[in-house]
Structure formats: C-alpha cells, structure tokens
Amino acid sequence: VSLPAAQLSQARCGSRYGRYGRETLHAEWTKLRTLASTGWLLLAAVALTIAVSAAADAAATCPSGGCQVDAAKLSLSGVQAGQAMVAVIAVLAISNEYSTGMIRVTLTAMPRRLTVLAAKAALVAGLVLAAGAVAVLASVLAGRLILPGHGFTPAHGYPPLSLGHGPLLRAACGSVLYLVLVALLSLGAAAAVREPAVAIGLVLGLLYAFPVVTSVVGDQHWQRHLEQIGPMTAGLYIQATVGVHALPLAPWQGLGVLALWAAGALILGGLVLRFRDA
C-alpha cells in the first residue's frame, strides 16, 4: 500500500512537528535538571513557604472573645515569601542562558524560538506546581497542628483545617496555581529584559509594590482599584475564606488578574525573544 507523496510528506511533517516539540522539551528538561541551582532553589522555595507559614501560625492568637482572623489565609501566608524564590527559579531558567552565552547554542540547535519559550514555560510551571503543592500541603498541615494551640479552637468558631472544607480546598489549590502564575510572569519578564538581576528586581518590585502602596493610600476608591489590578493583591484573593463577598474581586477573578499579567509578560517576552538578536 502506498500513500500519495503529498499525503506522506504531510504525515511526516506532522510527526516531525510533534517530535520537534518533544525534543525541545527534552533538551530544556536536561538543562534545567542538571543545574544544581534548580534543586536548591526549589528546596528553598518550599522551606521558606513552610517556615513563614508556621511562624505566622505561631505568632497569631485568637483570644477568648473571638477574632476576625481568616485561619486559611493565615496558614498560607508563607506563599507571600515563597513566591520570591519561585520568581528566581523562573528568571534563572532563561536569564542564565544569556549570562553564559548558552542561548546562542540553544537557538542554533532549536531555531523555533517560541517553541523554546513554550518548553521552558511548561517545565518551569510543572516544577513549580510540584514544589508548590508540597509547600502548600505542608503549610496547611502546619496550620492544622499549630493553630488549635493558639486559640483557634472549635469553641471560638475555628474547626481544624481540613482540605475537605470547600473554601480551604479552593484556597490551597489556588495558592499552588498562584505560584505557577508568578513563575510564568517571571519567565516572561526575564525573556524580555534578559539580565537576571534586573528581571528579579522588576518582578519582585511589581509584586510587592501594590500591597505596600495600598497599605498607605487613604482614599478608599484608589485602594480598591489598586488592589484589583495588582498581581499580588488580586492573586491572593484566592486565599480568602472569610468575608469573600466583601472583596473587591471574587477569588477566581483575582487569580484571573494575575493570569492576565502572566500572559502579558509571556507575550512580551515571546515577542522580544522572537524579534531581537540573542
């Protein structure tokens, strides 16, 4: 049985595309996997998240008169510090290649630049997803163990944290996704500016600027708008389990704002990568 030549070439071409993507992914995975810093940074991200969450749990108290604290948000507050490490992991995935000149080898071997960026994004997202899941689960566990000793008891209206509780499950899964989106935002920014120090400064400045500014701005109108557009402030709405209706945005909408930031950064990074000499 013989296929017409055109059909044959089409089939080959299709399989070649698939193989090309797989090979790019494999090459990127090898690079990322064999860097000692990747493992250390992932470990640091997990450790920092858990440590800050546990410290926050230990520092909080709920007096007998009751309190307004959102226990789920409290037990996940390490994400605010852990995201810095996650941003660094993502920035280094691309900036390191510019620092060492490796990017020229990479782009010679795999000339489809957007495929390279997509492969990097997929791998970084996967790694952060795994590390984030570990960090968030451990943080929730730490909250479950520590919080009852600080007055967060059923008598004060705080049942033990359990992932069977819908809002907490949403907060936990959302926090993992939050970290993934921060990683993608950082990757896009790094592809655009290339220099690792500048990219890290830019991303962390962008993330932390909004909570700092909104904490001081007195005008309610401005405060609300700033919280709605800030990648960190809006993204962390996903952690709220108390007073959700009073938030300027619904939790998933807030995560959507961060997703828009990440998409914008990736598009910008992709354009720069595609149209500028390496």
């Binding site: 926050a56 920035v91 890290i200 400064g201 500014v213 904490s215 701005v217």
Partner: protein, 533 residues
Amino acid sequence: MSTVTPYRSPARPGRDGFGPLLHAEWTKFRTVRGWVIGMIIAVVVTAGLGVFVAKASASPSCSAHSSSGGSGPVQHGAACGQPVYPVGPGGEPVQDEFYFVRQPLAGNGGITVRVTSLTVLTDAGPGPGPARRPILVPWSKAGIIIKAGTGPGSAYAAMMATGGHGVRMQWNYTQDTPGLPGTVSAASPRWLRLTRDGDTITGYDSADAAHWTRVGTVALPGLPSTVQAGLFVTSPPHSVYTSSLGSGTGSTNPTQSTAVFDRVSRTGTWPASAWTGDYVGAGGLGGEGNGYQQVASRFTVTGSGDIAPLIAGPLNDGPNITIRDYLLGTFAGLIAVAVVATMFMTAEYRRGLIRTTLAASPNRGRVLAAKAIVIGSVAFVAGLAAAAGAVIIGKDVAHSFALFPEPWPTELRIIAGTAALAAVVAVLTLAIATMVRRSATAILIVIVAVVIPDVLSAPPGIPAGVTDWLLRITPAAALALQQPAPQYYQVQANYMPSSGFYPLAPWTGFAVLCGWTALALVLAAYLLRRRDA
C-alpha cells in the same frame, strides 16, 4: 656599531594611589548607561510613588477647596473639616484635654494636695445592668499641674496619681518620670507637691506627708510670671488592639475618671478668690459629666481626655499621614539600587574585566574599597534626591492638611537617613555580589534580607510578632530611620510597623544594617584575596 636604546613608552608611569583607583571605578560606573539609568529609575520610582500616595491620600473635595482658596490665611485643616492639632513646646502634635480646677499663681510658690481615690468608668455597652461600669485605665491621671496658660499645647509640669503606673511626674507632653508605685486608695493615699521657682518646677511625693521624696526637677523655659495652677483629672480612652495579618483592628471606648482630693495647701501669692473649674481643650467642650464639687477643703473632680503626645497612624487619634508615608517607595528604590550595585561587581566577572582590574591594581582590598566608596556615594546622592523630592513634592500636592507635623530634626533624620540607608544597602549588596559573583543570587539575598521583612509588615502581611522579630535582626531594621515619631510607653496606642513604629530605635536599627555590612565587607575582602578571579 650603534647602541640600541631600549624603547620606553612616552606615557608617564601611573601613580599607584587610591585616588586614580577611585577615578577608574567612577569612570566605569559613569560610562555604563544602564547603571546610570538604573539609579535615575531608583530616584523616579521612590519619589513618584511618594507623590502618588500624597495625591491619592488627599481627599478630592479638600484639594479642590484649598486650591480654589485665596481668601486669606484659611487653615486647610479647618477648611476640610479635619481637626487642627495643638502643637506642644517640642513641636510635636499633642492632645491637651482635661478638667482643670485652677487659680492663677503669681511668681514663685507651690501647691500640695492629698489624693484619696481615683476611679474610672466606661460605657458598659448594650444589655441590662447599669449603663456604665468601672474599668482599669492604666494611664488615667489625677493630680496637680502648673501650666503656662489654659491654651492647648502650652507648657506644663504635673504630679499625678495614675490608674496603673503609680505616681508620675510628667511635663511638656512627652516627658515622664516615675514616683511612688502602687494604686491610690483611701487606705493608702498619695501626697503630691509642686513648687515653682522661676522657670524651674520641682515635684515631690509622699505616702504620709512626713517623708517627702523629690521626683524630678524640670526647666520650662519662658514660663510667664503668672501661671495657672491647680487640680486636674483626665482619662484616655480604653483601647483594645488586636493585630491580624499586618493590619490592626481595635475598639476604643471613651472613659471618665473621678478623683477625690483634700488637704489642699498653697504657698506663694495666690488670689483669695474661689477656684475656677473649666475643661481645657476641644473648644472647652468636654464630655457630659465633667466638673468638680467642693465641700469644705474636699474636691471631687471628674474629667476625660488626655495630656499626651498624639500618635500617628490608623486607629490612633493623631493625624493619619506622616512624611514616612511619602517615602513608602523606598522599597522599590532600594531594589533598583541593589540591582545596580550587584551588576557593578558581577558585570566584571561576567565580562572578564575583573582580570584587567586586578592586573592594573593588584591590591584587591583596595579595589573593593574603591568600588564601595563609588557605589555608596552614588546611592547616597540618589537616596537624598529621592527622599527630599518625595517629601517636598508630596507636601506640596497634599496641601498638608492631615499631615503629622514633624519637628525639623526628625524630618532631617528621615530624609538623610533614607539616603544613608540607600548608601549602606548599596555597599552591602556590593559585598554580597563579591562573595557570590552571580547577580541572581546576590540580588535574591539582598531582596530577601532588606526588602521582604518590611513588605510583609504591610497588609495582607503576616502577624506582627513575626515581622517585629524580623525587623530586629535582619538588615531591614535600618528602615527604623524612617520612623516618624517615637513610641511613648506612657501612651497606649496601636504601634504597628506598618504605621512606622519599628521595634528598634532609628540609629540602633541603622547600626544593625551597618553591622551586617561590615561583616559582609570583611568576608568579601577575604574571599576576593583568597580566590582566583
């Protein structure tokens, strides 16, 4: 045969001094466009965020009103319906409200009195039972006072019994010194005495009127010859603060104190006329129930308010905005400064220039010193420009109606301190970059150590217990340089890092940063010498 003269370069041999090395490093900095732009970005971002905050914190109706003004010296505060704060002798805004049973005292003299009881009542809230219940307010005050006049904010010195801190002598709002401990009751009364001699006022206390102890002698410069002296009672609100995730929440209930005085005796020139009772401050309108009763030589005085410095920040009774709020862009500026300082060193390694640098100047410690001086000076200038710009422009756009008035030394310390902070952070970053050589690692360490502890103290941050601890030991402690006002132990208020009350005193916090920087510099110099470039 002719002799061959060996070739000698016509260039004069370079001097092996520190000056040329500094010049070389300055040339390197100046000629890299990205670094100069980075420093300019640091200035623009810091000042820009400050101006944005000033603009966004000025409520629109107020700025419209004051910009349309021109009808003479209108006080912005009054025009915007904001309270105008009395200012104490030290230049700080104060609260000066109390019930005063007074007589004028001409020239030198003194007053002695016995306090036999001090009780405080607060609203009991909804529910059955009496409308008011007794409560312990540690800083409720009852005693005697000598005051320059009845105008709010005027100089004074007072001896008082307090609800929970024994006898105190306080003067000019911010000063406090302890006397006899213990609470006052009919069984254990407290005798208080104040004497005036020119500008000097001395306070004494006693448990039995036989054995007197001098509590303090204070000078009140410029005290007029005739002063107002007498009995006073005041009672700050009862406040409960709970800090949750960086933002404080709290409840504040007004209280009213009643004290019983007897055995009033006076020395010096007093008029024979009767005592006058009035409420000082708040336009003379105190709460309902303030007043006094005199039965023979026994006085029962009821008052509320406080004689104390105002505390800025959310949940407190002072002005909400301080010039520190105009400097909240500091964190972003520090990130930019740290990025430039990192690259000032790591670029040498990345481009291989370090080998040329060290060949030209083999004394490696000197190279590090020259780099530190250059980047530190540049960062200082940038920090000074950013801080001064943010404060000056911020004050201008906000029309300063709700701004916490700062005495000028504090304002100078905040602005110069911000510049010093930028300079030392730049040097710290340079040292860390020398140690780790990789820009990503260096910038990460600096951001985690300097910026994140401060950022986490802002909502939706983490509990104050953690940030308090971080702001003591990390280099971020130096942000205390921006603390707008001291934390007064004798005033109960909501002291949060997010409203500018840091756990360490300004210069102690700066010393923590300097300690870390010195350590990093020593390590960096050691590693630079011991490792091949």
